[in-house]
Symmetry: C2
Subunit: 247 residues, 2 copies
């Protein structure tokens, strides 16, 4: 048995999310099906994060245990050949110790959320960003974001379907950067609650449109009540960017 660590890029649009779903295709299933075709054995793929339907990944980390002897490079090339034309690609594949775990060993997860601030509909970025037609005040959004950094009870910013034991999380980074019409929001934490990034971004978008003040973000947080949430941002702007592991 050999354990391989995979780095995976995908366009989330055709998928119901990372995890197996009874009612539609998942990224996990696509990779497991490809592995079965190459290896002739059933495998399970574990990922650092279970992204929702429509969420993209630039470098999802995952691992898989393989019985049949095969080199890392051949496994990667085989997976990529079989995965086509689905928009899933294995960027890297390395052999790791049998106790390395993509989910449980992960010490930090990094997401980016992309907003396009413009009136015109999206063309090249359709399904890859959230278009907001109203003008956005990125400075106010940054001020709102700073109220969320640190260790807090994030009940307000957590899906009612979240299965985590505790609503306490430590948010290490929530940065708002404007590049022309593009507004990039960078979020980092050891782990996130279900829908946490999208819920935080949704409220920041209200601040950007001056429907909320930056202080309303702090009040929503203090409420510890999902009903205090202003808005959950759509999945299409969210990217899983990177995961950290001990050296």
């Amino acid at each position: 048995m050999t354990r391989f660590a995979l780095t995976i890029e995908y366009d989330g649009r055709p998928f119901m999310g990372w995890q197996h779903q009874a009612h539609g295709p998942s990224v996990q299933q696509a990779i497991e099906d490809a592995a079965r075709r190459i290896l002739g054995e059933d495998v399970l793929v574990y990922a650092a994060g279970r992204t929702d339907a429509g969420v993209h990944a630039l470098a999802m980390r995952a691992h898989v245990d393989v019985e049949r002897p095969i080199g890392a490079f051949r496994l990667m090339e085989g997976l990529n050949a079989v995965l086509r034309p689905q928009p899933v690609a294995v960027l890297d594949c390395v052999e790791v110790a049998g106790d390395w775990h993509a989910r449980f060993a992960c010490t930090a997860r990094h997401y980016e959320y992309r907003i396009r601030s413009r009136r015109a509909p999206l063309t090249l970025e359709l399904g890859r960003a959230w278009r907001i037609a109203n003008p956005l005040d990125a400075e106010a959004m940054a001020a709102g974001a700073r109220q969320l950094i640190g260790r807090h009870d994030f009940t307000t910013f957590r899906s009612t379907h979240c299965q985590a034991d505790s609503p306490l999380r430590t948010l290490d980074r929530l940065e708002v950067v404007r590049e022309g019409e593009l507004i990039r929001i960078f979020a980092s934490a050891r782990s996130f609650l279900h829908h946490q990034v999208r819920s935080m971004v949704g409220c920041l978008a209200l601040v950007g449109q001056e429907k909320w003040t930056p202080d309303d973000i702090g009040e929503a947080l203090a409420a510890r009540d999902r009903a205090a949430l202003g808005l959950n941002a759509p999945a299409e702007g969210l990217y899983f960017v990177a995961a950290d592991y001990p050296a």
Copy 2:
């Protein structure tokens, strides 16, 4: 009669190119059809550049003459509403003088060509960049590119279907910039020959893979012979980025 200048963004994948084609959809036709639905009149749209099938635009410039009284903002909003879900959007629309011409008044055209230098197939960038699996030497590509800058007979880098009277063109910029796995090639000139950017990029890719030396670019140019062309790069990596006009 009012003349409007349009700034247009499009994803080139579903189109046979900018210009009307008997055998498939074109961007020009999509905009003219949308205008007819809004205005109830037939119009012709003239663009700064006639991009090929699969080539994208971030800010194509064009103009259209309209009989019916309508404001620029209403025309833009109407076009965008009717163009959906096609990946074409009008980013800007302004009234201009009746002698302003998107093609003939244009003093410079700017293109970008995007290469992804990696083994893995593309997912999010599929149809938006040229993937080259072999490693690329961007320094050597930049050295090759410098041999093309200036006023030259570009017969080697011109499609046999090119309808321009002269093969002489002045290339003002051909710059190669590496950003991780992405190699961006910026090309600027008053005007380009048919397939000129793709032909130059194709040969630079040979230099990057060490199949050609930088000096081979100069020799191909000096040959003034289409048969001396090494490779024509695929359309999918090419973007029309901007057009300049007198103030």
